[in-house]
């Protein structure tokens, strides 16, 4: 399940996201956030990703927002840009 999700996000990032150009108000982008959240938290990560997508709207100011690691509560900084 997690693997399918990760693969879907990879495909989105490589093939679909370039269509729209850079547009996420947050760093890392919602898709990277979703990948990190699901690999760290599983099903709960999907809800986290959905909430992030809702927060990323025309009325938000965005900002830096990493997924926090389960154990250390440190931000997960994957190599994604």
């Amino acid at each position: 399940m997690r693997k399918i999700f990760a693969a879907a996000i990879k495909i989105y990032q490589k093939w679909i996201s370039p269509l729209f150009g850079p547009r996420c108000k947050y760093y890392p982008s919602c898709s990277t956030y979703a990948a990190d959240a699901v690999s760290e938290y599983g099903a709960k990560g999907i809800a986290m990703a959905a909430w992030r997508l809702v927060r990323c709207n025309p009325w938000s100011h965005g900002g830096v927002d990493y997924v926090l690691s389960k154990s250390s509560k440190q931000p997960i900084k994957t190599g994604a840009n």
Partner: protein, 309 residues
Amino acid sequence: MGSILNPLYYAVSWVIVTFHSAFGLIFGKDSHESIKWSLSIIGLVIVIRIILIPLFVKQIKSQRALTALQPHMKEIQKKHKDDRQKQSEEMMKLYKEHKTNPLASCFPILAQAPIFFALFTVLNGIARDTSHGFLRGDLLKSAQEAKFFGANLSSTFLSSDTNSQTKLVTVALIVFMSATTFTTQRQLMVKGMPKMDSSNNMMLQQQKIMLYVFPVIFAVSGVNFPVGVLLYWSTTNLWTFGQQYYVIKRNPTPGSPAYDELMKKRAAKNKESGINPTGEESGTTQTDPNNLGQKQQRQQPSKKKKKKK
């Protein structure tokens, strides 16, 4: 799924049916059905895009607010030259601090997706003789007959009863969609973006990917879409292009090539009409051609300098 989207079916079909009867006043109540239905779909696009305009204006405003942040941005780029992650992080922090964000978020796209899907279902309903929302009875019958350049609005490239005319129109619309999307992106990249050293390369690469990926994605999905949906998609693309063209010409992002162009044009115009924005040295500039040339050069980069003088 169907029940969640039911209100949307009503909304979409209401807009279309309303446009259809409004066009009836122009084209006659029971004639020119094809034109009326096609224009109704275009009308739906216009309504949706007009609703989205305030979001767009907000976007331009925050983009213009970036002028003030330019020195900070340059500093960040210099400071974290070799660390893209750190660079993006600092940029986002800067935006948040100043409560401005030039990025649009996915909302404008996500907001249109359900409408797009609802239109898809409503048009498919026409093909399958099932009514959705307000599109029922005689209206449904009339819509079934409606054509766009000889292609049924409800038929797809792949449906079994599709004639060669429909296939031709479908392909033409797919080509049109690919072309408008590509030129829109290209225009933005070539003229609308501030020159940034680090991300330029990545953008160029993305652009190259898109050049090949667009037609494939559009072709694969487009053959499954009813002509009416393709018409919607093409029109919304055209709108996006026009909107962006207007902004790049009239309200370009500071630091972009289009911005330089506009400044040059304004300078030339001022010169022509003999208006000197500072109100100084007007006598000498008009008579001395050398001085004029110098002035034009100076005018382009900085308004502030002139004010100080």
